[in-house]
Amino acid sequence: MVDQVLPEGVTAAQFEQALQEFRRILGREFVLAGLDETVSYRKVMIAVPEMDMAPSGALLPQTVEQIQSILKVCNQYRIAVWTISTGKNFGYGSAAPATRGQMVLDLRRMNKIIEVDPVLGTALVEPGVTYRQLRDYLDERGYKFWIDVPSPSAIVGPVGNTLERGVGYTPYGDHFMMSCGMEVVLADGQVLRTGMGGVSGSGSWQCFKWGYGPYLDGIFTQSNFGVVTKLGFWLMPAPPLFKPFAVRYANTSDLSRIVETLRPLRIAGLVPGGGIIQSPLYEIAMSNRRHDIYDGPGAIPADIIAREAKKLGLSMWNLYAGIYGGTEEQLTANWNILHAAFKASGGIIELEEDMSPVARKLFQRPKELMRGGLTLEEFSMYNFRGGGGSMWFAPVAPAKGEEATRQTAMASEILHKYSFDYVCGWVVGWRELHHIIDLLFDRSDPQEMQRAYQCFDELVTTFAKAGYGIYRTNTAFMNKVAETFGPAQRDINRRIKRALDPNGILAPGKSGIHI
């Protein structure tokens, strides 16, 4: 095995020279190169061999000025950098670049919480800040705000998740929607502050998103047009009252009526947070080893899923949502509306105290997430099949019952064809659903890995043919998913890329964008 992966088109001698330059900028200890030093950057969960995405090294800056100097060297030597912040991105590619031989630009050391305005409820942070760090910062100062986290919560951070357009579970769950103002280092070293950040001395950078002229923040999300070094976002004032609940539905075919019931409540703001509609296998997978409940061929049969669901106090669909209020009176008024609607739809409504001990234990996870709490218990799901393989397939559906039903049928059929299980949660947006499916597989079995790759490929193809796009994908499928959004989008992304980064040094292949 080679002990070093060279950047594409760069000789060993040139690479060594570039490394010297990087060491001069960052200090020796913050430039990693060779396979030993970059082992942490190769660990992936997706269905491709690690070496296909092996980086040449990693650069660990702590300041904007260092990033500017790094990019100068990258332009000189035509060395590409793949930017990460907290670098977890489970099941989407982890910290590894989309193509072999890029250097990881690891911003984890830039971990300053620059400002929290307790009056306006705004924050400005660097990419290495974690949600745990932010939570502690707010608590230490007695600031009564919630944060909104994605499932890996404590160990990941708001900048990376927002730039990937990730979602959480409180009313502030659409992270990019709640973002406000960015600082971006462009490939030529220029530093851009978006929106009101362009006005000298402005105090409005974190409180007015749109600024003046074209709104640019979007082009720096899921993209490779710049290196985001600061991000502003809004914090939700901690509500005095929070009432989380579950609604359980007995039949798989009930999905349509769940969505039809929930949509008007969500659009009207009566269910203000995301809410999750989960297939029972989601929590069965968190609670079991697969071989303990099923050892036969193919996907787990429906009767076994039903049997195991029952043991855990789950039904065939389990909706978790919450309402938030300032006063009991307000909460009760909202609750009465929701209660009547869910009852009329045939759901069994459960508060925590109504649940069996085992169901109550499982309920702690969505309950925590719906108030921005830090829990990683979802990831016991990775023990279900074992072997550390995970790829999230995440198509978007209009929030209509028949659309959700159709997607569930399509996804189940394809997954089952490849002998994988349909492990799904629907995250409920304002007018759409994020259909989040975890394709779990044993990465230590080369044949199973191959099968997982083929399965994911077919999912992307089939869903696109049916008119369903995907909100976010892993590094192995970025080109393919970009194709599904059509030639005009690929073309404009390429034209912007060529204008802003003519040498293509920033994260080639990110979201399928190349120069």
Binding site: E29, L60, Q62, S94, D106, R109, L376, G386, G388
Partner: protein, 102 residues
């Protein structure tokens, strides 16, 4: 991919030694207990990952697993926890008493 354990021990005098990961995290941890509380325990005290305390696990084993990851466990990079912090974590874990069953 085994890390070079022997060199990790010498991390404080490592400046002159080429070819090892020496990177420092940004000084956010106040000792191994703090790291464990803010990162490890979310999985290892909850049954998501195996319990680590009370098993006299070797610091070298902790270092290798943390850096490379294993199955569902992600890798943690030198930018998140420096080699010296990771070694201290391993030594602390080796001595830590069992927390009991989650």
């Amino acid at each position: 991919m085994p890390l070079r354990q022997s060199l990790l021990v010498a991390v404080t005098v490592a400046c002159a030694v080429a070819g090892q990961a020496r990177a420092q995290s940004a000084g956010q941890w106040h000792g191994p207990e703090d790291t464990y509380e803010k990162i490890c325990r979310y999985c290892h005290d909850t049954g998501v990952g195996p319990a680590l305390k009370g098993r006299r696990l070797q610091p070298a084993y902790i270092t290798t697993t943390v850096r490379a990851g294993r199955n569902g466990m992600p890798a943690f990079r030198p930018s998140e926890i420096s080699n010296s912090e990771l070694l201290a974590l391993g030594q602390w874990l080796e001595r830590a008493a069992s927390a009991g069953k989650p």
